[in-house]
């Protein structure tokens, strides 16, 4: 049995590698230079970019991206002034913003979710508001946030808060409401107080659902921060993308995309681990 899973893993890894190499190969071929474009005087060519003079594709090849990535990885924490910082620092800013907005959302969504889950009255009363607010694109809040909060970094944090609050709230409410009635009834028979009941029975029982909500939220928050930082600028990985887009440096944009993906995966894995810790067999 073990040998079989091992070989399956191995085979999967081989297939992954082949797919990766195939992708890189196609990418490389597709972005090769098409040779010198005829009919340009040398003085004129000196004033023009490589796309115009060498017929270089506007899309960088995998080798360009690799070289640039290596350059970034060698000095991830440089600081050349307020508008040019290393990728490590930019990612740090983004993660800090996501962290703050997300924690705020946890503090609001989980108690509120508990309340809605435990009280059918509140649940029904809040339902219309949640239904209307939930589908609003978080970035739609941005102009309103900038106008009222009057601070762009706080606005970005607010946007993270507002986008991560709903999945947590709904999942918490659902988890709390669907705790098995038998367990609650047993607690009632044993005359356990409300608070003790909430913390020793409902919380552990609903924890897996709550954490699933939190995992969905962190994913959304990470998606949104990039867009929010592109809008407000200043710092963060989203600003980095925007700044390099400004310079039409697709190479750097691709690197940023790659890093956004990796960080997003790590955040998701952390929450997945927490979820496994609180999961219980029934």
């Amino acid at each position: 049995m073990r040998a079989m899973t091992f070989s399956l893993r191995l085979r999967a890894a081989v297939v992954s590698l082949v797919l990766f190499l195939g992708f890189i190969g196609v990418w490389h071929i597709a972005t090769r230079e098409s040779g010198t474009v005829a009919g340009m005087s040398p003085e004129y060519a000196r004033l023009m970019g490589a796309t115009a003079t060498q017929g270089k594709s506007a899309m960088p090849g995998p080798l360009d991206v690799g070289a640039k990535l290596w350059e970034h990885l060698r000095r991830p924490f440089y600081d050349n002034g307020p508008n040019d910082k290393g990728l490590g620092i930019q990612l740090g800013y983004s993660i800090a913003r996501v962290g703050l907005g997300y924690l705020l959302a946890v503090f609001v969504a989980i108690p509120l979710g508990f309340l809605t889950g435990m009280s059918p009255l509140i649940s029904r009363a809040l339902d219309p508001f949640i239904q209307v607010l939930k589908p609003i694109s978080p970035l739609a809040w941005m102009p309103l946030a900038l106008y009222t909060i009057k601070d762009s970094s706080l606005s970005a944090i607010f946007v993270i808060f507002i986008c991560s609050v709903w999945p947590m709230l709904l999942n918490t409410a659902f988890g709390v409401a669907s705790v098995r009635k038998e367990w609650i009834n047993v607690a009632r028979t044993l005359e356990v107080g409300t608070f003790r009941r909430a913390f020793t029975i409902i919380l552990p029982a609903a924890a897996p659902t709550i954490l699933t909500g939190m995992r969905i939220s962190i994913g959304i928050a990470w998606l949104v921060i990039v867009a929010a930082e592109m809008l407000v600028g200043g710092t963060g990985i989203g600003y980095f993308v925007w700044n390099e887009w400004n310079n039409l440096s697709i190479t750097n944009v691709i690197i940023a995309i790659l890093l956004i993906g990796i960080v997003g995966m790590l955040l998701d894995q952390i929450l997945a681990r927490f979820t496994r810790m609180v999961t219980f067999p029934e």
């Binding site: 796309t51 050349n80 307020p82 040019d84 106008y147 009057k150 601070d151 925007w242 887009w245 310079n247």
Partner: protein
């Protein structure tokens, strides 16, 4: 006479003269001038102020330009300086002059959009103009005009790079809540262009542009007014015959490549970038539409000016100083290198050099040269503001009667800037309104309504 002339040049022509930078009689003279003290950045403020004070004394002694020139020619500038300092305490006077009020706030934030229009604002940081005037300024790159506006209104920035019509629009409450703003200095004149996609290289007559899509950076921009003006002069109604879209400058080149737009009237380095990447060509420079038009401005809220007058004054001096430095052709290459890094404009040096030196590839295989492609002159002419107001009214951005003069005088601080420039030893114009011509049509700032009603194509009120 240019604002940056020097009284201490005995050879200085009293008539308008031309050379590469337009300020000397011949190329030789121009080269010599660049070696002497006056065209170089003063090594330190004292040296600069010494020149200013001495110059003022000399002007007072010989009010007649011809006599002054004769005197300087006969004894030489350095002897003249020595002679004056014999009986006039130049040193004490210089110290007294340089002693301006200490800034209330030293650490300031100034927002900018990464385009060459912002050259004086940006270069003042790496080349030390802010530091020279006792300020510690952080220049912050910003994503778009609306964000610059909001961040300046929210006081995240103390002052900002804005399109010249924006402070007027904000003060009037167009597209934002009405907050009084003021412009102490114009950032740049000229320096924009109409760039078209390569596929339109045979459609050079604007009359054939019906149905095309053009991008402009912002509704309240000189770009919008100039493009509308240009189209209307060629018989096209910009609201009916073509599509105009507000697109952030960096996205313009990508949109042109993707064939989403046919062309744009954009700030430079964007035009040159489209050429550099082989997707567009330069149809006309904005200079050919209106030579000497303002483009971007340096703006601050009235609130900042009243609460921190000394900081504002120091900031204005730093900007005027940087603008004066940028106005000299021989400094342009150095400036291009200083503002190219990722911390500032983030663009290839070749592109910035082509914009700033005015020797550029036109996108069709030719090399053109126009040293005044972009120029720098800080004086905020109130007639500029009046012209912008006529165009705002022409295209329906403001309705009803407009008190042109009072708005222009509230927002464009010509009087204050004149004083500051004179204190700095520059020669500002004595008037705040001047007439100029846009595509051959003269604008008289005293009669804006007549000017407005002379246009056939306009948005019906």
């Amino acid at each position: 006479m240019s604002a940056f002339d020097d009284t201490f040049d005995g050879d200085h022509s009293l008539f308008r003269s031309r050379c590469a930078c337009g300020r000397h009689r011949s190329i030789v003279e121009h080269d010599q001038a660049s070696l002497s003290l006056r065209c170089e950045p003063a090594a330190n403020p004292e040296q600069r102020y010494q020149g200013i004070v001495a110059s003022a004394v000399l002007r007072a002694m010989f009010p007649n330009g011809a006599t002054r020139r004769g005197f300087l020619k006969s004894v030489g500038a350095s002897t003249a300086l020595a002679a004056i300092s014999q009986f006039f305490p130049l040193k004490t006077a210089t110290e007294a002059f340089a002693d301006t009020g200490a800034p209330e706030k030293k650490d300031l934030k100034v927002g900018f959009i990464p385009i060459t229009c912002a050259t004086p604002i940006i270069m003042a940081a790496p080349l030390g103009f802010y530091a020279k005037h006792g300020l510690n300024v952080e220049v912050v790159k910003t994503a778009g005009w609306a964000v610059v506006r909001d961040k300046t209104i929210n006081k995240e920035y103390d002052a900002s790079h804005m399109l010249a019509p924006m402070p007027i629009a904000i003060s009037l409450g167009l597209g934002a809540q009405a907050i009084p703003f003021a412009v102490p200095a114009i950032e740049n004149v000229n320096g924009q262009g109409i760039t078209l996609a390569i596929k339109h290289k045979d459609k050079r007559n604007p009359a054939d542009w019906k149905g095309m899509k053009f991008a402009i950076p912002f509704d309240y921009s000189m770009h919008n007014y100039l493009l509308r003006y240009y189209l209307a002069e060629h018989g096209l109604d910009p609201d009916a015959d073509v599509q105009l879209r507000s697109v952030p400058p960096p996205e313009m080149v990508a949109n042109l490549r993707a064939d989403n737009i046919d062309g744009f009237l954009a700030p430079d380095n964007i035009c040159q970038r489209a050429i550099y990447d082989g997707v567009g060509f330069m149809h006309v420079l904005s200079k050919e539409i209106w030579d000497g038009h303002p483009c971007c401005s340096f703006a601050a809220s009235r609130d900042f000016i009243t609460t921190s007058p000394n900081s504002f004054a120091a900031l204005t001096r730093a900007i005027i100083d940087a603008t004066a430095y940028a106005s000299k052709a021989e400094n342009r290459k150095q400036i291009a290198e200083a503002i190219a890094p990722a911390n500032y404009v983030n663009a290839p040096v070749t592109v910035l050099e082509q914009v700033l030196t005015g020797t550029y590839a036109d996108g069709l295989g030719g090399i053109k040269s126009d040293p005044k492609r972009v120029d720098f002159d800080p004086f905020p002419w109130q007639s500029f503001a009046v012209w912008m107001l006529t165009q705002m009214k022409r295209w329906g951005q403001i309705k009803g009667d407009v008190d042109y003069r009072s708005i222009a005088e509230q927002v464009y601080l010509a009087t204050e800037t004149r004083k500051t420039m004179a204190e700095m030893g520059l020669a500002p114009p004595a008037i705040s309104y001047k007439s100029f011509s846009v595509m051959g049509k003269t604008f008289d700032p005293a009669r804006p309504d007549d000017y407005l009603s002379s246009f056939k194509i306009r948005k019906s009120a």
